[in-house]
Amino acid sequence: MKLEWSVVWEYRWLLAEGVLVTIGLTIVTMAIAVPGGIILALMRLSKSRFLSGFSLCFVELFRNIPLILVVYWAFYVMPIFVGIELSAFATGITALALNVSAYNAETFRAGINSIRQGQVQAGLALGMSRFQVLREIVLPQAFRRIMPILASTWVSLFKDTSLVSVIAVGDLAHNALMVRSQTFRVLEMLTAMALIYWALGYPQAKLADWIRKKFEVKE
Amino acid sequence: MSSQVGQQIRGAGKKPILSYHNVMKRFGNFTALNGVSLDIYSGEVVCFIGPSGSGKSTMLRGTNALDPFDEGQVFLDGSPLPTSENEARHLRRRMGMVFQNFELFPHRTALENVMIGPVTVLGTSKDQAAKAALKLLDKVGLADKTQNYPANLSGGQQQRVAIARALAMEPELLLFDEPTSALDPETIGEVLNVMKTLADEGRTMIVVTHEMNFAKRVADWVVVFERGQVVEQGPPEQIFDDPHTERTRNFLSHLGWHG
């Protein structure tokens, strides 16, 4: 079998563009899903049964559906059903953000719940408002528990962005698969794609480990 | 030293079952044991007392090679303690150990906890092991709790199961590492009573303890540790009523002991 690795170099700009889109998808999704997760977590913890019920349903729904299905759903169904038509990139972001917001909501809720009730009462006893207690006392302490999980969600998200390639968002996976089908250099392109993901993902995974060690709560 | 006198009377005509010669143990820069020499005779109850961190528990863990000594020699029945892990396993079958935190196996019932040693280590049949285990649980007063998991037992009950577990191996020697330190005050008594029964049977026991009343009442020999050394040893009457060294007096008075 003759291998022609030059094909990878030949299409370097297309691959580089794919890398940028993959990174862009990750950053934009997280930028939406962190506030999204906080809002969902606060809804879940609120006294309103409607808000907490809505949040519960949202979170459980998107945690229990394959992301690739959400991507298809956002692509085929959302434009017709809800009447919103978006670019492929924005559709991909929507699907990813729905998924990651649900996971983040659980992360924030668990983080907030991990703070002992006595801490809240001590804050309230000082005359703080509920919001102040949350901001000044609960969230800073919950941060230690939340950060490591957010970091590992980030690593998962980075990989999951590859799934939006099925709706032709020009991310790394999509561009590499496209080059593969145009040039028939299957082994070269697929291996290059795997290696590029590895080179980008490995440091992130290690960083996530470092964050987990740094913030480890000793009990 | 007068303790030497006591030892001569105590050891008259017998060979010690355990004999420590100048044992040392370091953890990094910290010297946990700094040259301890000591004899223990068959059938004796020996209590190790002294402040926290004085090396008492380190002695026990060195004795059954869970944490082998760095230097010095220990003779069990006249032959030196083994150094390899494989031989250490044989050694440990001869000594039962009871831990401060019980360390029952949470995924096994009380009965299974007592059976696990004979079944896995000695290859005893399950029927036979179960029969023996029932007897032992009865002996420690837990005949009605055989099917309970550790999570459903009180601390005192767990520790009594742990004692039965150690006895199931039919050890020549029992090591107790602060067996009542993790217990609620109201359950300490039930554990000490079981230990008293074992002492009355003439079993050889080494007990690291903070229970001075138990030491005074049950021990044949008391060893006082401080900073990795033996400060004084002797019969309980000497240690508690007429301590020969200033450091023993200090230790006991810190505990509020007044004879």
Partner: protein
């Protein structure tokens, strides 16, 4: 299709009849998903638990290899692994695997890495005192692992095993890209052929939810019943 950002809910067009008409086609897909899920879970648990033991007790070479494998799988998307195994591996090995077994291999390789991490965490969470107590009874290393450490570790990580099952089922949906006739692929096909993507994909969401939600709940409940057996 509506203009951008105009909200219009259109119930009139909803027609679920293609789903009922093609239920056998979808049911076959579901069966493939379940078969693949069971196979992948068994294989990745077996492989992952062994790997986890090696990761904790192995020599430095074995530990290094396992760590590298785990971190590699943590950094490469499962889609990439599936596509590589299906399209590229035959070019290297000379044997081509059918889509079903390609998916099985890729997903098992991927999920086993997570099982290794979970097993390692479980083993390392066992208090050293438990091992000491077993040692004090004279047990060998192997006996301690089999009788004391592993049973407790596996009970402790049950919730994580539950999420592994869920991840596996979701990963199998990704195998639709290599045309494994599992539920996701069948839904795509039906959506395209029937021109009713709304109904088909929405129904697929419902189906997946009905599988995944009870599965994770069931394992959580099992854990709550067994949790005390892992607490030392």
């Amino acid at each position: 299709m509506g203009a951008p950002f105009s909200l219009r809910v259109n119930f009139v067009e909803l027609d679920f009849s293609p789903i009922f008409e093609s239920w056998r086609f979808l049911a076959n897909g579901l069966l493939v998903t379940i078969q693949l899920a069971i196979l992948c879970c068994i294989a990745s648990l077996a492989f992952g638990i062994l790997g986890g033991i090696g990761r904790v007790y192995g020599g430095w070479v074995l530990k290094g290899i396992i760590t590298f494998y785990v971190d590699t799988m943590r950094s490469i998307p499962v889609l990439v692994v599936i596509v590589w195994i299906y399209f590229a591996l035959p070019l290297v090995s000379g044997y081509s695997l059918p889509p079903f077994w390609s998916a099985f291999l890729a997903i098992t390789i991927h999920v086993a890495a997570y099982v290794i991490e979970i097993t390692r965490a479980g083993i390392e969470s066992i208090r050293p005192g438990q091992v000491r107590a077993a040692q004090a009874l004279g047990m060998s290393h192997w006996q301690i692992l089999r009788e004391v450490v592993l049973p407790q570790a596996l009970i402790r990580v049950l919730p994580s095993i539950g999420s592994i099952v869920s991840v596996t089922i979701k990963d199998i949906a990704i195998a639709s890209v290599i045309a494994v006739p599992e539920y996701m692929k069948q839904s795509e096909t039906l959506a395209a052929q029937s021109f009713h993507p709304i109904e088909v994909f929405t129904f697929a969401m419902f189906v997946y939810f009905c599988i995944l939600f009870p599965t994770t709940r069931l394992i959580d409940r099992l854990y709550r019943r067994l949790a005390h057996l892992g607490q030392s």
